[in-house]
Amino acid sequence: MSPDTLAALSIRGIAKRFGSIVAVAGISVDIKLGEICGLTGPNGSGKSTLFDCCTGLQKPSTGRVYAQGLDITGWDMHRIVREARVIRSFQKAVVFRALSVEENLVLCGQMIAFAGMASTFGVGPASRHRVRRLREQAGHLLELVGLSHMRHATAGQISFGQQKLLQFASMLMPEPRVILLDEPMAGVNPILIDRMMENINRANREQGITFVVVEHNLDAMKALCHRLLVLSRGELIADGAPDAVVRDPAVVEAYLAG
């Protein structure tokens, strides 16, 4: 059960119980560096809980999580992002609604530009210079995801699909190694889905970012992912090439039963 120190994420026997309810029943899997790995399964199969246990939102009941050999089990969420460079998205809380589109990105880049806590209180020329650099970086990313024209709009007032694109751009600001996306395409119109897939592919190709994507849209998953994991009732029931996995009888049965 030793971790794979080369893996982007090495999950070893992660289980999460809430009283007598078992949400995740001991999962071990390695996410290789540079892969786009899909994670799917019926509702309540434990996908989100597994995500939560890997990113510090919940502490696993048993098991350990390693990021390139670094044991991050039980760390606070902000520390996992800062030190292991593993960042995640949420299904519902997408952006900071009161801030402008650009400020959302600046905020997400702060953990790199203002690494020490004392530096976050600076208001001098050095701080202004750092913020200016973050704004430049933000401008670049907004161009990539096609939101340049909304730079100064209030994030809460743009469409939900655009918020998801903004969320994606925000996650690239702190130069992560691993991105865990929780349903990036839910509630997004087909044109924006294509754009989202293009963005994921480009970040993976050009920056070598590893992705784990929770998603119900199986067509999108087949087109996007190198590998597909399927959970059912807290257990991993399939792991392999997307085309083969969706034909797996156990997977078909889980979906029909779920």
Binding site: T55, G56, L57, D76, M77, H78, R79, V81, R82, I87, R88, S89, F90, A93, F96, R97, A98, L99, S100, E102, E103, V106, L107, C108, Q110, M111, A113, F114, M117, S119, T120, F121, G122, V123, S127, V131, H152, T154, G156, Q157, S170, P174
Partner: protein, 340 residues
């Protein structure tokens, strides 16, 4: 649905960055400071007194604005910190004859230092539990002030607190006249507003807004949320403590009544009525609500009833506070000029 979402958006605090009204805000601030600096030329002693009281309340109000408007937590402990600042500052000045600037620092630090052990358990609580905890703290602070007679002289309170002495250490001169007090209060108020603006427009201020918006989302982008909530809480206490220090050296007396809910409510009214999460709103609120409370003294029997009615009217007319209402009206006017 789309319009529903529009109304739900809370943009408080976001005005700090890239605001098209930035020039207007700076002009407004400068005009206000110049007008206030010229006030002693026209205002009588009583009006100056009312302005001094307004500027004294501005400090705990800015503190509450930081914790409520930026970090998103409602605290009733502000006036308790104000009282702690006042008592500690008065006691050191009476015992050791410390100069005014040092008293301000002592008042601010004492409040900030007390906030940390209170914050450690309280900040783990959520929403209403946190509010109750700060309310409990205010009650305890008053009880201590009443019963620690050997230090605080109980209900008698402290009197003959030294007037502000402007000196590096010993010697110097004492501030006595109302005009000198007035300029001292104005200087302090301007410094407090500048410090507040610097804080909320820094990277730390952005983290605080992020926490108010969504704490989990803030943590997911690397914000050590607990630390920043603690910093916001302690700094809000520092603002209140400095205000308390000035208060005690102006009135030269302090008693446990400073911990009465009335004062805590006044600070809350200033922030909510003026415009939570805005700086201009809190400044406006301080002058307006303290002035209103003073002006209503002409009818002492009906004073508190009239004050209460005024609050109810404001809540109905502009639930977001006076400043946001004023700004919308201003935008409306601009819109009309465009059409014309």
């Amino acid at each position: 649905m789309a319009t529903m979402q529009l109304h739900e958006v809370n943009t408080h605090g976001s005005h700090i960055y890239n605001n098209p009204r930035h020039g207007l805000r700076i002009t407004g601030f400068v005009v206000l400071v110049v007008a206030l600096a010229a006030a002693p030329l026209v205002a009588g002693e009583y009006q100056l007194h009312a302005l001094i009281v307004s500027m004294t309340f501005l400090l705990p109000a800015l503190g509450l604005n930081l914790i409520l408007g930026y970090a998103g937590m409602l605290s009733f402990a502000q006036m308790a910190f104000f009282g702690i600042g006042a008592y500690s500052s008065a006691l050191t000045a009476m015992r050791w004859g410390t100069p005014f600037w040092l008293n301000l620092i002592i008042g601010g630090l004492a409040a900030g230092v007390v906030a940390v052990p209170l914050g450690i358990p309280a900040l783990r609580l959520r929403r209403y539990s946190f509010v109750m905890c700060t309310l409990g703290f205010a009650v305890i602070a008053q009880t201590v002030a009443k019963n620690l007679v050997s230090v605080t002289r109980g209900d008698l309170g402290l009197s003959q607190v030294p007037r502000p002495r402007i000196a590096l250490w010993s010697g110097g001169f004492e501030v006595t006249g109302i005009t000198s007090y007035y300029y001292l209060a104005l200087t302090l108020a301007v410094l407090a507003v500048v410090a507040f603006l610097a804080l909320v427009s820094s990277a730390a201020g952005r983290y605080m807004i992020a926490i108010r918006e969504d704490e989990t989302l803030a943590a997911s982008v690397g914000t050590p949320t607990w630390h920043y909530r603690m910093i916001a809480f302690a700094l809000s206490a520092v603002f209140a403590g400095v205000g308390g220090s000035f208060y005690v050296h102006y009135f030269t007396v302090i008693s446990p009544t400073v911990f009465d809910p009335f004062y805590a409510n006044t600070v809350l009214v200033i922030v909510l009525g003026g415009g939570v999460g805005t700086v201009g709103g809190v400044v406006l609120g301080s002058f307006l609500f303290v002035a209103a409370s003073e002006a209503l003294r002409i009818a002492p029997d009906l004073r508190m009833i009239a004050y209460g009615l005024l609050l109810i009217v404001i809540v109905f007319a502009c639930p977001e506070g006076l400043l946001p209402l004023f700004m919308r009206k201003l935008d409306g006017l601009k819109g009309r000029t465009h059409v014309a």
